[in-house]
Subunit: 286 residues, 2 copies
């Protein structure tokens, strides 16, 4: 087995599964993307979801709004999508213009259509082992661990980063009484002292801090398993732009037992897990 925990075979399997399920389904899933303004990355992401959706018979519709849309009007648009039985999933693309109140917007989305799983009700269910959606990045990390048959139970897992969308949900998931769970979990962040000392104790190190190439080989232990959630755009020496993770892959490759690449690692599985959430919404809540 290669050292690289690549996304490709995982995605292939997930998309084949979803396609197969939807082949037999009477109803087809509908994902609504709310896109405000014309951020090129957000637009690219939406187009990508439309394309990926089309391949599995999922309708992905992007609702575009001007970046001066009023909070109240946006909430009304979400309400319409909430009430529309044909819509199974709703996501609101970031970044949002500063005049909009993000937390009110998230609260407005019907938790049963909240396929990004940013609603507090879904987060609470995640912590309390209730039924609901798992944020797709966290789900992707769990899926990689599962696919590559990595023992998690009883391991020292160190998570770098305490964000609402990765660090915290992942910590709670890895504490669950389940196969990809039962880990001893440590969460580190900007206030952590003696960080390398802590990361060096990790059997599994998960980096999700958004700092390019932050984790070096002298911060990991021999034969650690490294999961890199970061996707950072940097300029290389020739001023060419490229994407790197939070982990210095080249530096850590030799010392690590297994390591996810960037690109082609967690990020690629994340999109698949989001679409899986939409199919789950169709099956479960329709």
């Amino acid at each position: 087995m290669s050292k690289k925990l690549i996304a490709k075979p995982i995605i292939k399997e997930i998309y084949a599964q979803l396609k197969d399920e939807l082949k037999k389904s009477i109803y087809l899933p509908n994902l609504a993307i709310i896109l405000i303004g014309d951020d090129p990355a957000a637009l690219f992401y939406a187009k990508n979801l439309e394309k990926k959706g089309a391949k599995i018979r999922m309708n992905v519709t992007t609702y575009k709004f001007a970046d001066n849309i009023r909070q109240k009007d946006l909430l009304d648009e979400i309400e319409l999508l909430n009430e529309d039985d044909s819509v199974n999933g709703i996501i609101v693309q970031k970044p949002l213009p500063v005049h909009l109140d993000e937390s009110e917007i998230i609260l407005k989305i019907d938790p049963n259509k909240d396929v990004d799983a940013f609603h507090p009700f879904n987060m609470g269910n995640l912590v309390l082992d209730g039924e609901g959606f798992i944020p797709s990045t966290s789900a992707a990390v769990i899926e990689i661990l599962k696919f590559y048959d990595i023992e998690v139970s009883g391991k020292n897992v160190v998570i770098l980063g305490r964000s609402h969308i990765v660090g915290k949900p992942l910590a709670n998931l890895l504490l669950r009484k389940s196969k990809i769970g039962n880990a001893t979990v440590t969460v580190c962040h900007s206030y952590t002292n003696n960080l390398p000392e802590i990361t060096k104790r990790a059997d599994i190190l998960i980096a999700a801090i958004g700092k390019p190439l932050f984790v070096k080989s002298n911060m990991i232990k021999e034969n650690a398993i490294i999961i890199d959630v970061g996707i950072n755009q940097i300029q290389d020496a020739k001023n060419k732009s490229r994407y790197v993770g939070d982990v210095d892959f080249d530096d850590c490759l030799e010392k690590a037992l297994l390591i996810t690449p960037v690109p082609g690692g967690v990020g690629s599985v994340t999109t698949a897990m989001l679409l899986k959430n939409v199919v789950y919404a169709l099956k479960r809540y329709r």
Copy 2:
């Protein structure tokens, strides 16, 4: 300063505060306790809340039901309390008879009256820094750390136990970007390997596993701060019953810098934090 982090001065302050607030309040808070069957400990707890409530002008009403109450009837009773504007807080006493579906019951309670903070919506808000209730045991631990001016930021906090009502909410709270937060948090449990090695690294050790006298002095580091959440009834040599924590207090007292006693520690503050939640509900949601 004594080594003992005792509850007494904390409780005194909280009750004085609550009493003072309610002195000026037009409305008085109402807490509804749902008690099923006749478990003596549950009955004692309810009586205690009634007594404590009376001292601060809070009405505490216990609604007793036979232990063969049907799930549907219980849900209807909760609905009545949800709809009653004069009721600010609702708690359902455990243990519940086995024929009742606990998670359905918790989901039924209006999150704005869920002063135990067991509803997923409140747990999600806790994780996502939203507004809502904090489970009273976790709130008590935070309150003790605050009252005794214990530096938490950047410290290695080790939590023993991953329960829904203590370990998990506490881990998420101590990760918050707040004064009693910013800790590097490790959660241990029954699957954790080399436990003493991990607990020995704790600047602050929080025990919440429900195992009497589990933590011994050889599991803590010199000058550690020990918070004992456990309340376990044991029989001593003379067959007399007494309450002890998850920590062997006598054994750890010398080595620890600070330590909470049992009884007279976390448990005593917990009741005060619950009543504080009811007053919060009155102010916030009425």
